[in-house]
Each structure stands twice: as C-alpha cells, then as structure tokens.
C-alpha cells in the first residue's frame, strides 16, 4: 500500500517536472539599478532580427537614387583624387614608397566604412523611434545592424582597390591573410563609437551636430593623407590609441606591404577598440531603459 502510494506520488512528481520543463519561459520585469548585464545571449536569440534589419538597411540605402550603389565607390574614390592632387602632387607628402593614389585609397576604404558607420549608427535609434516606442527587442541590434550593413559598401569600394592594385602592379604578400583581422578591428571600433553616440543621441540631439565635426577631426587624426611613419617612437606606438591608426596601417601593411610592420601599434589599437566597444556596450545598456520614454 505504502509502496503504491509512493509510486503514485513519484508519478505526480514526474508529471509536474514535465510540465515544468515544457513550461513557458519566465521573465520578471522590474526596475533595473546600476550597471546591468549586457544580455548578449538575448541579442543572439534575436539574430534573425539583426539579419533582417541589416538586410533592410542594405536594401533601402540606395533606393530612389540615380547612381545607386555607385555612391559607395564615388565617395572614397574622389576623396583619393583630391588627396593625390593636393597632398601627393602639390605638398609632396611622403607615402612610404608607394604611389600616392593607392597609398591614400587603401586607407580611405576602411576609413569610409568607419565614417559612414559612425554617422548611420549614431542616428539609428532616433530614426527608429517609432519602433522603439512600440515594440520590444534588444536595442543593441539597431546600431549593430547599421554597422553591419556598411560592409556591402566596403566590399564595393574594396573591389576598386583591387583594380587599382592590378593597375599599379602590386601583388600582395602573405600578409594579406591578416586583412580580416583589421576589418574586424574597424568593425569593433565603428560599433563601439556607434554605441556611445547612438545612445547619447537619444537624449542629446547635439550629437547630430557633433558627428560631422567628429568624423572630419578624426580623419585628420588618422594617417590617411600621410604615413604614420612621420612620427618617432614612442609617439608612433602611442598613436595607436586612435584605433583607426591600427586599422589604416594594418590595411596598408597587409595589402601594399608597407614597411611599417604593425607590431605594438596594432596591439595598442586593438586594446583601445576593445575599451571603446565594451564601455560603449555598457553605457548603451545602462541608458537603454530610458530610450522609449525619451526618444
């Protein structure tokens, strides 16, 4: 009798357990205090949304333009032409022994990606105000998608870079296998700065006016029109605090085999990019709770 009772009880227990296992996900909604976790797992769960948002940005970007995706090339290409004319031909700025046009273009390709990502991601939340106030999703996906969608433009501009390398008869060495790493560095920097700016932009529309100024300023602080080899050590390595220095020099080294072998400078840049990215993500998450109320 008692044994039977026991089994029956066990059965019920098992059943409750099964129900528990089948049971719905449970969330507790409550005010958050202080620094909150990044909830990256949730971002991963919403990866399809990330995909669709990226895809939307790409799809929509050049709708109703005459030149369409050609804009992705025109921007860096004509900057290169202007730079070559004024800095290369007139000012005779050294270019590490490489023809000036390709020297500057190899830097302008990642730079344009960075500058556009910065502008677009800093506006991403404000532009999607209607989404943010009407539906829940991890807000991190928003600036992230904008940065990712810039890769298409990057690829187009990069194709021109390859054409130029053929034209100048430059064969890349095995250094080229490191290229994805530098792209990743550019991506991390863009995302990090994008997170800071987009979250700030929700509350302070001043950001809108800061961004054009910031990109211009940052461009001259990055060795695009000139080589970083103009600087002496230890300043040269410290220069890597601007992560885009590492990206630009990395690109040149990987593709054009400049002699500025990026040792410590890349390390410093990667570290700087990581700091910007992580601090940006935490700042973003911290501000996230106010987005829907303020935007």
């Amino acid at each position: 009798m008692s044994i039977q009772d026991q089994t029956i009880q066990d059965n019920t227990n098992a059943k409750t357990n099964v129900v528990g296992a089948f049971d719905m996900p449970h969330i507790r909604i409550q005010p958050s205090r202080g620094w909150v976790s990044l909830r990256l797992r949730e971002v991963w769960e919403y990866r399809e949304l990330l995909y669709f948002l990226t895809w939307r940005d790409i799809k929509v970007r050049y709708k109703q333009t005459v030149l369409g995706a050609a804009w992705a090339i025109i921007q860096p290409f004509f900057t290169m032409v202007v730079f070559s004319l004024f800095f290369g031909n007139l000012a005779k700025i050294p270019s590490d022994g490489i023809p000036y046009p390709i020297f500057s273009y190899a830097a302008l390709v990642p730079w344009t990606f960075f500058a556009n990502s910065l502008t677009n991601s800093s506006n991403s939340l404000v532009q999607s105000a209607n989404l943010i106030t009407k539906i829940y999703f991890p807000r991190l996906t928003m600036p992230f998608a904008t940065v990712l969608s810039g890769i298409v433009d990057f690829v187009l501009a990069f194709a021109v870079l390859i054409a130029m390398m053929l034209f100048y008869n430059i064969t890349p060495t095995t250094n080229v296998i490191w290229l994805p790493l530098f792209l990743l560095l550019a991506l991390a920097t863009s995302l990090g700065v994008g997170l800071w700016l987009s979250a700030m932009n929700v509350q302070f529309r001043d950001v809108r006016y800061v961004v054009p100024f910031l990109t211009q300023f940052w461009m001259f602080a990055t060795p695009i029109a000139y080589p970083s080899s103009l600087l002496q050590e230890p300043w040269h390595t410290l220069y890597g605090i601007n992560p885009m220095v590492g990206v630009v020099e990395g690109f040149r080294w990987a593709l054009l085999s400049t002699n500025t072998a990026p040792g410590p400078i890349i390390l410093v840049s990667s570290l700087a990019a990581l700091v910007i990215l992580i601090s940006g993500a935490y700042y973003f998450r911290r501000m996230e709770k106010t987005f829907a109320d303020v935007v």
Partner: protein, 427 residues
C-alpha cells in the same frame, strides 16, 4: 503556479515632465548657466542619469500600485479613460519601457501589438515587409515561411505582394500589417487600441481574428475603447483610473462600472482641448428643454444635445455626427447633420458653430448612455473624433413603464399601432 500567465505586483511607472518654475535670472546668471548647465548635464550623462532629471521636478505617476493576476487562457480587457495608464501598462508588460517600482512576472512568450504596421518600410515590397515585420514581432523565419500564404490570403493582397508598400492603398497597408501581427503565435498577446483604425470591414475582420485568437486558448490583454468589443471578446476586465486599478471582474460588470464612472464625472458639459486640425470640437453639453445643463434627463421630457465646434478654413461637405451608446457600449444609433430635415448645406466657412439636436421625450428608455462625436468629410477624412465624450442618464419619473424599473426595456421606447382581433375560426 503553472496556470498563471501574468502576475503584476505593485507596479508603478513614473514620468517626469518639464515645468519647474525658475526664479528670475540676470543675464549674467544666464550666461554663467549656459556654460555651467552643459557641463552639469555632461556630468549627469556620464553617471547615466536621465537627461536633465533634476531640472524637471514635476513627476506624474502614470501607473501606481497596480497589482493583478491573469490566468492562462484568460482574455482580459483593459478599460479606462484616455490617460488612465492603459497604454503604459501594456508598454511595461511588453518590456518597451521599464517600471519605476514593483514587478511583473510573465510566464510565456509575449507578443505585443501596440500599433499596426510597426517597422513596415515603405520602400520594401509587401513580401519583404512580411518577413521584416515578422522578425520585428519576434517570429522565427521558419514560422513566417509556414504562415506566409495564410498571411497573404488574409490580407487580400496577392496581386500586389511584389509592389513596394508605399504604393498600397491605406486599406491594403493596414490589412497586410494586421495580417502579419495576427499570425504571431505568442503565449501571451498584448493588444492596444489597434482596431481603432481602418474602415468598418477591416475592423470586423480584425475583431473576428481576435475572437479566434481568444478561442485558441491564448492569454490576451486587450485595451480598447470599444465596449462592445470588450464585452464580446473578454471574459474579465480591469478598470484603470488615474494609473490605479479601481475594478476587476467579469467584463460586463466592469464595463458598467466604467460607464457609471464616466457619467458620474460628467456634469452634463465637457469642454474639449483643441486639436491641431482644421476643425475641432470645443464643447459638448446635455441640455434640458429649458436650456439648463444637466446630466440626468427625465424620460418624459425633451432634451437637447449641444455641440460647439471651431472651423479654421472653409470646408465643404462637413459632416457633424454623433453616435449614441448604451451602458454596454453597444451602439444604438448613428446620426449626423446630413440626416437633418432642416439643414441642407454642409459647407462651412471658418468660425465658431453651435449645433443642437433635439431628442424627443419618451424615446430613450431609462438607463445610462454615452455619446461619441465626430467631425468629418465622409470617406475623405476625420477632423476630430471623440469616443465616449460625454455620458448622461435617462431617469424614470413615473412613465407607464415605471414598473419595469428600466429593466428589460431595451434602449428605445416605441409605440406602434397594434391590432387585436378575436379569431372565430376553427380550433
């Protein structure tokens, strides 16, 4: 525990609004401030506080001490006046905004539908928007693939599915947007007043779908001003007033509490805030035959419904209309200026207008009624529309029907000619 879908405990949401009074400041202070204030703000920003939190002292509690439980499979209506906190409640429960205090436990996957067509992109085709919108609503790609045909059929847009939605008519747009949302399969569905848009056919379709969803055993929290919809779809309801729950219970009970409340509030006259539109109501009142403002009318006396509205530019064919609702929110009749026997010209020059509608005695049965009013060009546009703007009661004062005490009489009192003959035919 397992039969619980939502548990809300002492939930509160505070909003800060600007409006702190500042004392007179000298120019010097202003200049000093213009330098110091941004620095202070940057300091605050870095500490992660909301923008200018301290500059804005006035706070409103949009929700306060809200506690309730919803059982799995229950369909609960949320009713209350505008600004009572209904939308805030849904926003907190769908995690769009964080509560300021208290907590809510949610058991299950939540789908929220606070607006139809959130995230639709005008440049993308119908097909593309289905996938984008589905993803935004939290549907998995496989799920959308499976539902795709059903969505397109429901929306009746098969022919235009590869056209950018910016070329859609507003009806098609709404149907498609609703179709995507209606095919979500969350455990808990939070729906705001989404059915307030679109034409009658669309609303009927939406309500039909909502009814289906409710029958499938899903938990639904449904905000609406349409008492008829609440009464039909929801088993239970919550009544919110100024951010607090004042009543919970079976929906019919709560609805009549709500209607009592809005009638009680009204003194027989409502002044309205202007809208930015070219035509808007300024005042609505219930008047006795003598012109006295009242909120209860004797069943045996005539009365008037009095509207005032402002016209900002010449408008041709402007319809001024109102609908009368009974205490359950069912519509009794709709009428408008164009149905008037005396008024022929509906063109309006700019100015202030007063309209009075005479309601004869012994027409409305004793009971509680409310009125919705609208200024619109039929089938073109709405200038102003106010649901349940004013309420009034018709009271029994000794008519022949007094013995029924207003029960079972319906809403309209009728007097027909009857004939009675005693039949002498075969049995």
């Amino acid at each position: 525990m397992s039969d619980l879908a939502i548990r809300v405990e002492n939930l509160g949401k505070e909003y800060r609004i600007g409006g702190k009074r500042e004392r007179y400041k000298a120019l010097r202070d202003t200049i000093a401030d213009s330098v110091a204030a941004p620095l202070r703000r940057i300091g605050k920003l870095l500490r992660g506080q909301a923008a200018g939190a301290a500059d804005m002292d006035e706070v409103i509690w949009s929700l306060r001490n809200v506690s309730f439980e919803v059982k799995r499979g229950d369909v609960v209506g949320v009713i209350g006046r505008n600004g009572a906190g209904k939308s805030t409640l849904l926003k907190v429960l769908s995690r769009i905004t964080e509560p300021t205090e208290g907590y809510a436990d949610i058991y299950g996957r939540v789908g929220s539908l606070l607006e139809v067509g959130t995230g639709f992109h005008p440049e993308l085709t119908g097909h593309e928007n289905i996938y984008l919108n589905g993803a935004i609503l939290g549907m998995k790609r496989g799920e959308i693939d499976r539902k795709y045909d059903e969505i397109v059929t429901f929306a009746e847009v098969e022919k235009f599915i590869d056209t950018p939605v910016k070329h859609f008519s507003s009806g098609m747009y709404l149907r498609l947007a609703f179709a995507v949302a209606a095919h979500m399969e969350p455990d808990i569905l939070l729906v705001d007043e989404v059915l307030a848009v679109g034409d009658a056919a669309f609303q009927k379709k939406c309500l039909g779908k909502m009814g289906e969803v409710a029958k499938e055993g899903r938990t639904v929290l449904f905000v609406s001003h349409n008492m008829g919809a609440i009464a039909n779809l929801c088993h239970n309801a919550l009544l919110l007033n100024d951010g607090q729950i004042t009543h919970t219970g079976p929906s019919a009970e709560v609805i009549s509490q709500y209607l009592d409340m809005i009638t009680e509030r009204d003194s027989g006259e409502v002044l309205l805030v202007r809208t930015p539109n070219d035509a808007y109501f300024t005042r609505v009142a219930i008047l006795e035959a003598t012109g006295q403002i009242t909120q209860s009318i004797e069943v045996m006396s005539d009365f008037k419904i009095h509207f005032e509205y402002e016209i900002m530019r010449p408008i041709a064919g402007l319809e001024v209309s109102f609908s009368l609702f009974d205490r359950y929110g069912s519509i009794i009749f709709y009428t408008g200026l164009s149905k008037s026997k005396t008024v022929r010209n509906l063109d309006h020059e700019p100015g202030h207008y007063i309209v009075e509608v005479h309601i004869p005695k012994n027409f409305l049965a004793p009971g509680i009624y409310s009125i919705a009013i609208a200024l619109h060009q039929p089938n073109i546009r709405f200038f102003d529309q106010r649901d349940h703007v004013i309420g009034f009661s018709v009271v029994e004062t000794g008519s022949e029907d007094y013995k029924y005490a207003g029960q079972g009489l319906g809403s309209i009192l009728v007097q027909f000619d009857w004939t009675v003959q005693k039949s002498y035919g075969k049995n």
